[in-house]
């Protein structure tokens, strides 16, 4: 400590980060850790009953499975849709880059509620999508799109897309343009130069995007609630129902703990595969 104060005469870096640690401890970790004892509680006594219930009940497991599946689906779709956008944003003409950045940021900054309700307008029985399909005779009767896992996936993808685009874009921008030219001069065509040079170097951005999209989608609440209705339950809406409607805090907490566990396992595997360096590179 003495040395640190010499190097930074006013305040040590550790001290500077203290306020945020206190804030997190009081308002985040403390309530979260309270969830753990709660999850073992049934009618005032402690047991593994809540966990046993979840593992024995297929509807509960399905709900966790659906959450993970929607998360993975969102990761794949945001990657496939987002990478080309990020690539154009990083390499296109100034006008293209500007337009794309504005579009992405506009979507990013628009309220989550507004975006979710817009999808309800699009997907409902007599909504825009259905009337278009009917007019084009692609379908004979209106499809049930709203209140399905499909609707949840669409909304989740839309809302999380910027979290995939932005880190990929930032890594791509950091790649020296001459690398692609060097590869071209050595006989690589456009595609090979991209596949062998640019893409491998953009992996840190992709992995950061994957992490951000997947982990956020696990906790998604408003979007699945509105687009999934009461019928299709993901983990967050299930927890809400247990706690707020059925006053079953024990079961809700156990579910929350399991969900957190999924996120932690994913993070652990992620760090094993990509390492912390890759995460830093992609996010900052």
């Amino acid at each position: 400590m003495q040395k640190a104060f010499h190097k930074h005469p006013w305040i040590s870096p550790l001290l500077m980060t203290l306020p945020i640690f206190i804030l997190l401890a009081v308002f985040y970790f403390w309530p979260m850790f309270q969830m753990i004892p709660l999850s073992f509680q049934i009618d005032g006594s402690y047991s593994l009953g809540n966990y046993a219930k979840i593992l024995a009940e297929p509807t509960y497991l399905k709900s966790i499975g659906l959450t993970i599946l929607i998360g993975l689906g969102a990761v794949v779709i945001t990657f496939v849709m987002g990478y080309p956008v990020a690539y154009l944003m990083a390499t296109g003409k100034p006008a293209t880059r500007k337009t794309l950045t504005i579009l992405i940021m506009l979507s990013f900054w628009t309220s989550l509620m507004v975006r979710t309700y817009s999808w309800m307008v699009v997907l409902q029985k007599n909504g825009i999508l259905n009337s278009a399909l009917l007019k084009l005779h692609l379908t004979d009767e209106a499809l049930t799109l709203l209140y399905t896992p499909f609707a949840i996936l669409v909304g989740t993808v839309h809302i999380l897309l910027p979290y995939m685009v932005l880190p990929i874009n930032s890594t791509l921008q950091g790649i020296d343009k001459n690398l692609a030219w060097a590869a071209r001069s050595m006989g690589a065509n456009r595609f090979t130069a991209f596949w062998k040079i640019i893409f491998p170097l953009s992996i840190p951005g992709v992995s950061a995007g994957v992490l951000l999209v997947f982990v956020q989608s696990l906790g998604f609440y408003v979007t699945p609630m509105l687009l999934g209705g009461g019928k299709t339950m993901v983990a967050a809406t299930f927890i809400d129902k247990q706690m707020n409607t059925l006053a079953n805090w024990g079961l809700g907490s156990a579910f929350g703990v399991l969900l957190t566990l999924v996120a932690v396992i994913f993070l652990f595997v992620y760090l094993k595969v990509f390492g912390t360096k890759s995460l830093k590179q992609g996010l900052f």
């Binding site: 030219w181 001069s185 050595m186 006989g187 090979t192 040079i197 170097l201």
Partner: protein, 362 residues
Amino acid sequence: MENMLVLEGLTKTYGDFYAAKNVTLNLKEGEFLTLLGPSGSGKTTTLKMVAGLEIPTSGGIFVHGEDITYLPPDKRGLGMVFQNYALFPHMTIKENIMFPLKIKKDGKRKQEMENLAMEYLRLVQLEHVAERKPSQLSGGQQQRIALARALVYSPPIVLMDEPLGALDKKLRGDMQLEIKRIQKKLHITTIYVTHDQEEALTMSDRIAIMNKGEIAMMGTPDEIYEKPNSVFVADFIGESNLIPVSRAASENGALVLRMKTKKASTFVHRPGGGPVTEFADDTRFVIRPEKMFVDRQLGERKKLTGKMIDVIYLGESVKYIILVDGEVQLKIKQQAIGGTRIFKEGEEVEIGWPDDAGQVLN
């Protein structure tokens, strides 16, 4: 000998701006040609057009008589070395050098490719770093690897865009010799871009000096240094005194020049067969500082008189700054032989030079 590379009237415009204007030049096999010029003179634009990284607005590029003007870079088969090395950071040094061989797919086996890569690593004396990543090498080492990578697939022509620009002065000197050694050994046809005149003079067979998108002068290093064809070239290469003059008289092949000063001193000049210039408003008498001499009394050899205003000791030489006619500052450089007369600042001195030294240029 047949021309390896021909650039014909190569022009690149951005709106009204000419980045390169009517650049025409030939390159013979094994020749080392340098494009030299200040920044924005069009040298890099010209090189990029040859490499295929820029499309010319008009003009043509021919390799062995074949038109490659509009071919994409990967179909040209040229080698390129970049200022910032452009090594692939996710590959080892050996993988970097093998990259062009793998792309080529000419049926070479992996072992053959590895042997070839190692051979070129030996050439640049860096065999021991084969398994390292580029970030673990110094700047000079990285540039040698970039050179090996550009040579390993035996391209007919190698293009180098300020390859030593990011290195410090001492290392730059070593690398100049290293590149020259390899270029000579493998007889590589090279276009080299630099803004460093010393580098251009040391390395080149021929130099094309570029200014405002055009080739201002093309010649061997000594032609360019000894017989510059314009005030721009004389000023850009080495140090020159540029004295505004007009013609006062001419008598039996000698010119009497009058300085454009209030005092209007005159001196005699014998053009040594160089370009005889029409006199214009901006005509200058151009002479190198090391061609001139200075003393308290020069007698017959005196051309001008002036006042010593500064004496600068440079190690192997001494530089004098002398004010002539109270307006024009001249630089004179002389070998610092032991016992060099020390002039006092403010002292009246006489200046001279051989009659045929210097040139009248526009």
